[in-house]
């Protein structure tokens, strides 16, 4: 998501590049573009207006220091304001209360509450080793109780049984008792979807809140939400002392302006992003990174963190030492990289997080080349271990054998070898201080030099080095 906003801002800001200083005149145009971009991204109108005001006031009052061009200075202000609106830093769940710590989920119909309950259970169970229990207070929607029960079974946590005929309040009171006796650390309470203007239902959730005294009261909001995010967020925040927000369905391609609106209007931090329908698809939300991402600076940090988590650490370390020692980056390593890339959600997922790569990610999905990676891997698999370690051995006849073995052409073998060479060079250059970050950049460079891809957009953070 967000990539169109990213693209839009990067063009308009670039236009400001050569200006001598920031004046009403020269930022007017850019601000108008920023306004358009934010509105097209579904940021609530009132939030857009406040945001532009703040940016404008700061920009005009500012002495442009000699270190920055006015364009850069303006970018910095927009970025800082975005960060400010998004919240200065990443907010964690706060479950440090006498157990059971209760998490109450609230939101509109279909926002993703039940799924988020399942994801949180999974997250707390596996990452934080908590003993989790869930309960559904949704006695209205058909099969809502059953839905949570199924998710509970999938995660492997207890789900306190609810009867569709009891009152939600009775259900949750019961569940708290059960959570205590069963020594649960955390009790996650799923609730029915409700409209903010439905007084009876809003009164109901207030009652639930009072009965539960939750450690966390999370507002779940769909990333595709439009202007109504403002109304709804305000109403929920007025009715409940929210402690945070979960932005669901952020794996879509909505530009996600709702994130900005909700954050601004509730004053509460976005604590998680829902990134898919599966139970693992819950990611921490990093406001600063998101702001950078909006501005086309990419989400390099997120990517690195994700990479570090999913990566086979041993292999990574082995590679890092190897490179440090100035040893070659052989085809075996290359294959590991390809496999790791696959496990990180493929090229597209990765490119999306890299600065200025929004378009490339799109292109990657269309033209490329998931296939190409499969091909590369197949080629390497068709080699002997010795060939993998010493690619220089690969002569004409070996190439033919490898091509046959992988069902591909000799020119594919050639291309692979060429790419490997490029990659090797990269690795050497940045070998001094190891670390994933550089490796990831290496990946980007590989893609840039691989041929068949559209030209890289002008330097974002990635190739700056």
């Amino acid at each position: 998501m967000f990539d169109s906003l990213t693209e839009r801002l990067s063009t308009t800001l670039r236009a400001l590049g050569g200006k001598a200083k920031l004046t009403e005149d020269n930022i007017g145009e850019t601000l108008r573009e920023v306004r358009r971009a934010l509105l097209e991204a579904d940021v609530a109108l009132s939030v857009v207006q406040g945001f532009l005001d703040a940016v404008r006031t700061r920009a005009l009052g500012m002495e442009v220091s000699s270190a920055l061009s006015p364009g850069q200075a303006f970018l910095k202000i927009v970025h800082e304001e975005l960060v400010r609106v998004m919240g200065a830093e990443r907010a964690e769940l706060n479950l440090a209360v006498k157990p059971p710590a209760i998490i109450l989920l609230a939101g509109l119909q279909g926002a993703g509450k039940t799924t988020t309950a399942g994801k949180l259970a999974q997250y707390l169970k596996t990452r934080e080793k908590k003993r989790v229990m869930m309960v559904s207070a949704d006695v209205y929607r058909p099969a809502a109780i059953e839905q949570l029960a199924v998710l509970g079974a999938q995660v492997g946590v207890a789900v306190h049984p609810s009867q569709a005929l009891s009152s939600p309040e009775a259900i949750v009171r019961d569940a708290v008792v059960a959570a205590k006796t069963q020594l649960a650390d955390v009790l996650i309470v799923d609730t029915a979807g409700r409209l903010a203007i439905d007084d009876a239902m809003m009164a109901e959730i207030k009652t639930l809140h009072e009965a539960l005294a939750p450690a966390e009261t999370l507002f779940v909001v769909d990333a595709m939400t439009g202007q109504d995010a403002a109304n709804t967020a305000k109403a929920f925040a007025d009715a409940l002392p929210l402690t945070g927000v979960v932005l669901s369905k952020a794996d879509g391609d909505a530009r996600g302006g709702a994130a900005l609106s909700v954050r601004q209007i509730t004053g509460r931090p976005i604590k998680f992003l829902g990134m898919g329908e599966k139970l693992e698809a819950l990611e921490p939300f990093h406001p600063d990174r998101m702001a950078s991402r909006i501005l086309g600076m990419g989400d390099v940090l997120s990517l690195i963190e994700e990479a570090e988590q999913k990566l086979d650490r041993k292999k990574a370390e082995r590679l890092a030492t190897k490179i440090k020692k100035g040893k070659g980056f052989d085809l075996e390593d290359f294959r590991d990289q390809l496999q790791q890339m696959k496990s990180m959600g493929g090229m597209q997922g990765m490119l999306e997080k890299l600065p200025g790569m929004g378009q490339m990610a799109k292109a990657a999905e269309q033209s490329l080349d998931q296939k190409r990676f499969v091909h590369m891997e197949a080629l390497i698999c068709a080699m002997t271990p010795k060939e993998r370690r010493f690619p220089d051995l690969i002569s004409g006849s070996r190439k033919q054998r490898i091509a046959r073995g992988s069902g591909l052409q000799v020119q594919d073998v050639n291309r692979l070898l060429k790419q490997h060479k490029q990659m090797q060079k990269m690795m050497k250059k940045m070998g001094q201080k190891g670390g994933m970050q550089k490796m990831m950049r290496g990946m980007g460079a590989l893609m840039g030099g691989g041929g068949g891809m559209p030209p890289m957009p002008p330097p974002g953070g990635l190739r700056r080095r």
């Binding site: 839905q147 439905d198 369905k249």
Partner: protein, 370 residues
């Protein structure tokens, strides 16, 4: 506030860039943000909502709707500009800027979107100029007219045709209200003397099958299901076969929610369509894309991408009983060329209405319940 944007000053009626140049001076924030409730909302859990149709035209006399707000906005600007009503508006080259800004604000806040808003205001100014309208009531009804026209151009009520059976495939992104809409349609068709059958094609989401089964038993119509994890296309194929065998004349096929940017899920949907065609080349006879009225501009991408993999025939706009206005419908009408056929106004079986452009526009412009 946006004086820097104002530099482009008064808007010329003949210029195409009308609204872009006239960035709105925001209305006092609270006004639009705390929009009073739409009608029918108390009814959500009582199964007897008022018809949106009836809630619509009520507010000509003022009050909190757009008309009223505009009137007070006008009063302000009138004072400020020292203009009289007669010269304030129209029939002239320039249309009062603050009025246009108020309109723009209203449309943007209803998710109409920048482009469509600009187009609407352009159309409005052109007409106003031509007709030399000179009071704001006339202007407002002209706006409603323009908006209804945009929707009306594509308007086409849903209709069933004879088939054995008539297959309706219901698609959309996650959580928009597909299953609920199917439950509502089942009841509707049954009441009209049809013999519907439901097909549990959402084999992915937890308890989705159970959810549909409960709707089936509410409406007393059969549900064909295979259970979670089954192949969606094969469930639907089974269901249409079963429908033919049992003499059911309408099949309502549920599908799993899918984000349109997920290639593999869209491919799965394309396969569903292919498999249905194997059963009957004319199937699916209708493909309804369900959209949540709360969705912003992303709805356009949804309509576009879904129409690339499935032969969409109409749209359903749900959750209009909330504060969401569903203004993206205008851009949708223009871009997708698909008619909105039903609207969802609650969670109960009878909370479904045939779409009616004029009522929709009245509701969107904030004409609240009488």
């Amino acid at each position: 506030m946006f004086r820097f944007l104002r530099k482009k000053k008064a808007v010329e009626a003949s210029e195409p860039e009308v609204s872009e140049a006239s960035t709105p001076d925001p209305q006092p924030e609270g006004e639009a943000a705390s929009e009073p409730a739409d009608a029918g909302h108390e009814a959500v859990h009582e199964a007897v909502p008022e018809a949106v149709e009836e809630t619509s035209e009520g507010n000509e006399g003022g009050g909190a709707g757009l008309f009223g707000r505009l009137r007070s906005g006008l009063a302000r600007s009138r004072g400020a500009l020292g203009d009289s009503l007669g010269t304030l508006l129209l029939g002239k080259k320039e249309i009062d800027e603050s009025l246009l800004e108020a309109l723009e604000t209203q449309l943007l806040m209803a998710d109409v979107g920048l482009e469509a808003t600009e187009a609407v205001l352009e159309r409005l100014t052109a007409r106003v100029k031509r007709r030399a309208l000179n009071d704001e009531d006339a202007l407002m009804s002209e706006l409603a007219e323009v908006l209804s026209e945009i929707l009306g151009e594509r308007h086409e009520p849903f209709s069933l045709a004879p088939a054995e059976p008539f297959v309706i495939l219901v698609v959309g992104v996650n959580g928009v209200g597909k299953t609920t809409t199917i439950g509502k349609l089942a009841q509707r068709f049954k009441a009209a003397g049809h013999r519907p059958l439901l097909a549990a094609g959402d084999t992915f989401r937890a308890a989705a099958v159970e959810q549909l089964k409960q709707w089936g038993s509410r409406a007393d119509v059969p549900v064909i299901a295979q259970g979670e994890g089954a192949d969606s296309a094969s469930v639907l194929f089974d269901a249409v076969s079963a429908a033919r065998a049992r003499g059911a004349d309408v099949v309502l096929a549920d599908t799993a929610g899918r984000l349109h940017n997920k290639g593999h899920l869209m491919e799965e949907l394309a396969k569903v369509v292919r498999v249905l065609k194997r059963f009957d080349a004319a199937a699916p006879h209708a493909v309804l894309l369900v959209l949540d009225a709360g969705t912003g501009q992303n709805a356009l991408a949804q309509a576009k991408t879904f129409s690339e993999v499935a032969p969409l025939t109409g749209l359903v706009l749900t959750k209009l009983d909330g504060t969401a206005k569903g203004g993206v419908a205008f851009a949708l009408a223009k871009q997708s060329g698909l008619p909105i056929q039903f609207i969802g106004v609650g969670e109960q079986a009878d909370d479904l209405r045939p779409f009616e452009p004029r009522s929709f526009v009245a509701a969107l412009l904030g004409a609240e319940a009488p």
